[in-house]
């Protein structure tokens, strides 16, 4: 054997060992120290605390997953527990893992993909091509190239199309409450380096749903809906407001925008 040949074999072996060590330790990033976007538990998972108690790290969900979506968490308390990293490989909702879970950490009675709740997708309107196109027509991407696109990839790949993601005015996508958080839209979203659509896993707090004033406003909205059901004219919001505004015509009689609440004359302790 020539020395050159031996040297190259040795170099290849060293490179292989180095690669293996890197793969062991670099894939050890642990997404469940705290919640992170695009890191979801597999479909049918019970809430995070019960999941940590019930999951015995047997990795049968990982074994049976035909898409290779399910990964293992690395060093830490959650070591060995399964998760789906939507940016790498999303869950395709085949529901094979739920059936197999021996301890009920994944709900084995769950068979229909519509009832999964791994998370909720949220669109970042400042990067989404469709939303940007709507506002600017033409825009630079991260390389400085001018692009303008009606992309709507998330709408096209969504397994619950027209339920979880709808196209508003055939122009821009919007995520609805039916979203199960499978993450296929995240996997396919073309924007780089950040995705314009991200899945926020179930149990993780959302900025736009947090805090007292949000809950207060939500309660106000709900009360307005109930008022409307009773036959009075409620507070209009969103599409219905747009619809009513579009019917405003200066030549005809103007519709009335009533405020259906009685305003108190005095407030306690405010004299």
């Amino acid at each position: 054997m020539s020395p050159f040949f031996a040297q190259s074999i040795g170099r290849a072996a060293l490179a292989g060992i180095k690669d293996l060590i890197q793969r062991i330790f670099l894939r050890g990033e642990n997404p469940f120290v705290s919640y992170a976007t695009n890191c979801m538990r597999p479909p049918g998972a019970v809430d995070e605390k019960a999941f940590m108690a019930l999951c015995i790290r047997c990795n049968r969900c990982l074994e049976v997953c035909p898409y290779g979506s399910i990964k293992r968490a690395g060093v830490g308390f959650a070591m060995g527990t399964p998760y789906v990293l939507a940016e790498q490989k999303a869950c395709y909702l085949c529901m094979a893992c739920c059936r197999l879970c021996p301890t009920g950490a994944l709900d084995s009675s769950l068979v229909s993909p519509e009832k999964v709740s791994m998370g909720k997708a949220a669109i970042d309107k400042s990067i989404c091509y469709s939303h940007l196109f709507l506002e600017h027509d033409v825009l630079p991407d991260h390389t400085g190239r001018k692009i303008g696109a009606l992309c709507n990839t998330c709408y096209n790949v969504c397994p619950l199309q027209d339920k979880a993601i709808v196209l508003r005015k055939n122009l821009f996508p919007e995520v609805m409450d039916a979203c199960v958080g499978c993450g296929i839209c995240v996997e396919r979203c073309p924007t780089r380096p950040k995705r314009a659509i991200n899945v926020i896993p179930t149990g993780m707090g959302r900025v736009d749903e947090a805090g007292f004033y949000f809950r207060k406003a939500k309660g106000h909205y709900e009360s307005a809906v109930t008022v409307e059901k009773q036959g009075q004219q409620g507070v209009l919001k969103g599409d219905r407001l747009l619809e009513q505004k579009s019917r405003i015509d200066a030549t005809t009689e103007q519709p009335k925008f009533d405020f259906p609440y009685s305003v108190p004359k005095s407030i306690e302790g405010w004299d």
């Binding site: 894939r27 019930l54 790290r57 990795n59 990982l62 049976v64 290779g68 060093v75 070591m79 060995g80």
Partner: protein
């Protein structure tokens, strides 16, 4: 001679570690799982320690959980701690480490490794292993995480095998196996199976009068029956098999039966084909 059959069964179990994921790659799902929990057809089997921890940690008692633990418990009641001695892939690796150790002691290091098992005496060893099991279960209940799964040697080996087949890599848990094997090879011979393994400790609790065991057919089974004492030297668990065949540590590995020159040791209790 039981040794060849035992080795065959052990190697078959080790083969299964790599073969089950290969089957699943070809989309044959009649047998799935790892040694934490396995499904053969529709029969679900799970490690009873794992189930025990899940019960303590989650505080909920469900029928599928108990049903999965039922089969190993019945198996242990009939055959004793046969899982450890005959099937567990870690025990096979520990056997290999013991052979390598004997070679290193004799040829290279000139008896610089200790020969004695770390905690001598079966009673002390049992106290240590049941203490470890109880401690682990209590911690699992307290922090709501099945902590003993991090040190579940057969489960880790089979999981790593599955990951190796599926992804051509291994995960950090494999370091646990490496460290324990290195310790067994150098300073603490046979310490994991004998003193710590929670699975072995838990399934050895299930022992009845009809359980398979090692029996001494001499007239006085409590007294040493020969001067050579090959059986005690052969026992990997540090027992004296002529009188401690019914000890909770015994794995029915039959090394003592094979080593007995006068053929006094044999299977007792519920007998196989006898």
């Amino acid at each position: 001679m039981y040794a060849p059959y035992r080795r065959a069964v052990q190697f078959a179990a080790l083969f299964l570690v790599f073969f089950i994921p290969v089957l699943n790659l070809f989309e044959i799902y009649s047998i799935t799982g790892t040694f934490y929990a396995i499904n053969i057809g529709s029969l679900g089997i799970a490690d009873p320690v794992v189930i025990l921890q899940a019960l303590f940690a989650s505080g909920r008692l469900t029928v599928p959980l108990l049903g999965a633990a039922l089969f190993p418990v019945i198996f242990a009641l009939l055959f004793g701690r046969v899982w450890c001695g005959w099937i567990c892939p870690y025990h096979l690796m520990a056997d290999g480490a013991a052979v390598l150790r004997r070679f290193l002691r004799a040829r290279l290091f000139r008896s610089s490794f200790p020969e004695k098992l770390p905690v001598s005496g079966s009673f002390k060893a049992n106290v240590v292993r049941f203490g470890f099991l109880m401690l682990g279960t209590v911690i699992a209940g307290a922090v709501s995480i099945p902590v003993l799964n991090y040190v579940h040697a057969p489960g880790i080996i089979s999981t790593e095998g599955m990951i190796f087949v599926k992804e051509r890599t291994v995960s950090p848990e494999v370091l646990f196996i490496v460290v324990v094997i290195l310790l067994e090879l150098t300073v603490l011979p046979r310490f994991w199976c004998r003193l710590f393994c929670p699975t072995g400790a838990f399934i050895s609790l299930f022992r009845a009068r009809f359980t398979l065991r090692i029996e001494n057919s001499a007239k006085n089974p409590k007294a040493p029956c020969c001067t050579e004492n090959h059986c005690s030297a052969a026992c990997p668990m540090g027992l004296a098999p002529y009188r401690e065949g019914n000890n909770l540590l015994c794995t029915n590995c039959t090394l003592c039966v094979d080593s007995c020159l006068s053929k006094r040791l044999r299977f007792g209790g519920f007998r196989l084909g006898a």
